[in-house]
Each structure stands twice: as structure tokens, then as C-alpha cells.
Amino acid sequence: MLRRRLPLLLCFIAGLFMAVQYYVPHHSVQSAYETLLLWLQTLLAFAFLLGTVSLIRVHYHKIRNKAADRGFSLVMFAGLFAMLGLGFFHPSHHAPGSPFNLMFLNVQVPIEATMFSLLAFYVASAAFRAFRARTLEATLLLVAAAIVMLGRVPIGEMISSTIPEATRWILEVPNLAAKRGIMIGVGLGMMATSLKIILGIERAWMGGGD
């Protein structure tokens, strides 16, 4: 009861209330809604930090079990504690331009931004070695892609003024129609999933066990 039924019941009540309040402007309902919104925020904040706890556990176990790459787990902890130290104990942690933020801007920002910029190189290599016009579909796709890629950089305009015009047409007619179709289909899927969660048909969030 407490282990399986109660969570499903809480899920049902919270979901139903949040879905129904959208149509009920009465202040009794709206003030309950405002309260529940704040609760949801708090729960999300706590839930987000679950990931940090898991991270610490994984790397702690790696170090304790003397895993082969435990050196890098130490690097992870060094990064973690440096941030926590600057964030919680440095005297000016809570002011603009604090060392805490400087560490963010000069350690986290360069690494994360650079990791994704690696993809520019992989796109170029895949362009040469894997993107093939083997079917009618792939051909259409690549031709449209080439037009759009030219049409969105200044050099395309210099080659011919038709290229930016064609790009605009592709974006605002066929692209729009197709994306609208996908948008509707995906939207229906999202709502169906929400419904199944509220009614307890879909209960993957509960995890295994009893």
C-alpha cells in the first residue's frame, strides 16, 4: 500500500489537479495551484542534486576499489572541491566577478564549449566519407542542405541572389510544413505519455522492486 499504491495515488492527484486547474480560475483553486507550483520547484531542485550524489558515489567506489582509471576520479574530485570551496567559503563568493564565477568562466566554459566544437571536424570528415546520395530521399536532403548552407552565409548571396531566396523558401514552406507535421505528432505523443503517467498505466518512474 505505502510502497506502490500511495505513490501512484499521489501522482494521480497531483497530475489531475494540475491538469484541471488550467480551466478553473476560481481563487480557491488558483491559490492551491500557486502553492503546488512552489512545491514542484523545490522537489525539482532536490531531485536535480540526486545526480551529484550518484556521481560522488561512482567515483568514490572507483577510487576505493582501485579501478584502473582512478587517477581521473581524483581529477573529478579536485574539480568538485575547488568549485565547492570557492562557492561556499570564499569571502566574495556571492558577488559579481567572484573567483567562483571566474573559475566557471575559465575552466568549465572553455572545456564544454570546446568539446562540442570538436563536432565541426567530425561533420567535415563525415561530409567527405559518409554522406552519400544513395537514395532519392538522401539526394533531396543533401541538395536542400547544400542550398541552405550556401544561402545562410554571405558568400551564397555573392554567387547568386537566387540562393538566399531559395533558402528562405525552403525554410518557410517545405521545412515549415514538415516540421509542423512532426510538431503535431510529437505533441500528441507527449500528451498521451502524460495521460498514461497520471493514470498509472506508465509507471517506469517508480523503478523496480516492490
Binding site: 500511495l6 505513490p7 494521480f12 497531483a14 497530475g15 480551466y23 514542484l40 523545490t42 522537489l43 532536490f46 531531485a47 536535480f48 542534486l49 551529484t52 550524489v53 558515489r57 581521473f72 581529477v75 574530485f77 574539480g79 568538485l80 572541491f81 575547488a82 565547492l84 562557492g87 563568493h93 567562483f100 571566474l102 573559475m103 566557471f104 575559465n106 572553455p110 572545456i111 564544454e112 570538436l118 563536432l119 565541426a120 561533420v123 538522401a138 543533401l142 536542400a144 542542405a145 542550398i147 552565409v153 537566387t162 531559395a166 518557410e172 521545412n175 510544413a177 514538415a178 516540421k179 509542423r180 507535421g181 512532426i182 507527449m190 505519455t193 502524460s194 497520471i198 523503478g207 522492486g209
Partner: protein, 287 residues
Amino acid sequence: MEFSTLIWTTIGVILTLCVYSFLYKDNPFYKFAEHLVVGASAGYYLVIYYYNFIDPNVVRPVFQLEHGGQAIALGGFEWWMALIPGLLGLLLYARFFPKIAWVGRWPLGIYVGGYAGLGISPVMQARVIDQMRAASSPLASIVGPGEVVDPFAAVTNTALGFVIFAVMTYFLLAKRHLGSRGIAAMIGVIAASAVVGYGGYVVLTALSAANVVSTTSILLVVGLLGTLAYFFFSLRHTGLLGGLARIGIVFLMVGFGASFGYTVMSRISLLIGRVGFLIDWIGMFSS
């Protein structure tokens, strides 16, 4: 220029180069940067969550009886409203203790259900109703008021009108009249498709000339219809539905082409941004 800025930027440059070393092959420098950022970002998020949310909304109201600069009463409504969600939030961490892990499902139920319920109606409005409204406007145009109609769109729109009507007719007739009947039937079907296509083209041009329905509107509706037909699974893709689905796949592929071009653009922008950063760093020494 300040010395401290130079030091900080140089740290950023070294880490940037560590990541780029991955292009040669996976190596300890890359792994160092990768693990460092995992730890640093986890620490960063923890601090940000604490000071922006948990401290002002949970800790201070409960322990210091203060919320947003206002004093609150111990045991008063606002005090309970900070304490209860805080306790529920803590229950989430029961999952790390196997014996009481199930307690964590209570707050999780509220959380999962609440967010599921919140989304339903706005998603229906944003992704279905407003899209339906936009799709049913008969005079959609890719040019705003006062802008010049660009010749490319005008020509392409009407030409595609022809193609679409022809393809639809072809698929409509092909199911029944093709198969083993040979070349004559084939020619007949193609001819009929061409005639209907031309008819469609004439009607379309006339309608758009009379400002009743714009060609853009019709193409948008046909493209949407085709895409939805492609993702319709309750009937076999033959006949009219098959024709619509064929049109749908063409629209989809052109749409994906646009995504492809934009995605490539995105990745390259990120590279340009990083290269700009490195070049600015070199520039620091000359100034």
C-alpha cells in the same frame, strides 16, 4: 591589461588545447579535461542551486524566519509551506538507502504527476490548436506586408502545385489501373496525372491571382497533410494515402535537409567561437 585576466585566460587556453588533442586520438590530456569539467560543473550546480533556491526558499524561511526580506512566523502558514516541500525533497534521497528506498517514491509521485499534468493543456494549445489555426489561414505568405514577392517563391510554389496534383492522381489511379496491364495503361495513367496536374496548376494560379487562397497556404496544408499521412499507422500506405505519404516524405526530406544545413552551421559556429577565443588570447600579448 590586468595580469589576473591573462592568467585566467591562459588556463582556459590550456584546457581548450587539452580537449582539441582528442582530434589526434583519445589521450590523458583529454581525459583530464573531461573529468575536471564533470567535477567542476557538479560543484558549480550545487552552489548555484543552494544560493539561488534552497537558501532563500527553504533554509532561511525555516531556520531564520525570513523570506524575500519579510519576516515570517515560526509555525505560521509560510513557515510550513517552506518546511513541507523541503522535507519531501529530502525524502528523495531515501533511494541511496536500500531498506527505505521506497519512501523516495512519494515525493517522486507528486513531482512526476504534477509536471505531467501541467504540460497537457499548454502543449495541446501550442503544438496542435495554434498550429491548426495557422495552417487554416488561406492567405499565408512568406512575405510580410510591404515586402516584395520574391520571384523564386512565386514560380516554385505554382510549379509544385502542378507536381503535387500530378503525383496524387498517379497514386490514386495506379492502385487500380496498373499492375499487369502493360504499357498502354501506364501511359494512360501518366497522361491523366499530367492533365489533372495542369488543371490543378490553372486553378491554383487563378485562386492566388484572385487573392482567395495563396499558393503558400496550399503548399503548407498539402505538406502538413503528407507528413501526417506518412506518420499514420492505422492503414496501409496504398492509393491516396500512399500518394500523400510520398509527398510527405519529400517535404520531410527537404525539411531534414534544412536541419542538416543548420546543424552543420551550428557546429562550425562553435568552432569559430573557440578559434576566436584562442586568437584573442594571442592578441593579449601584442597589446
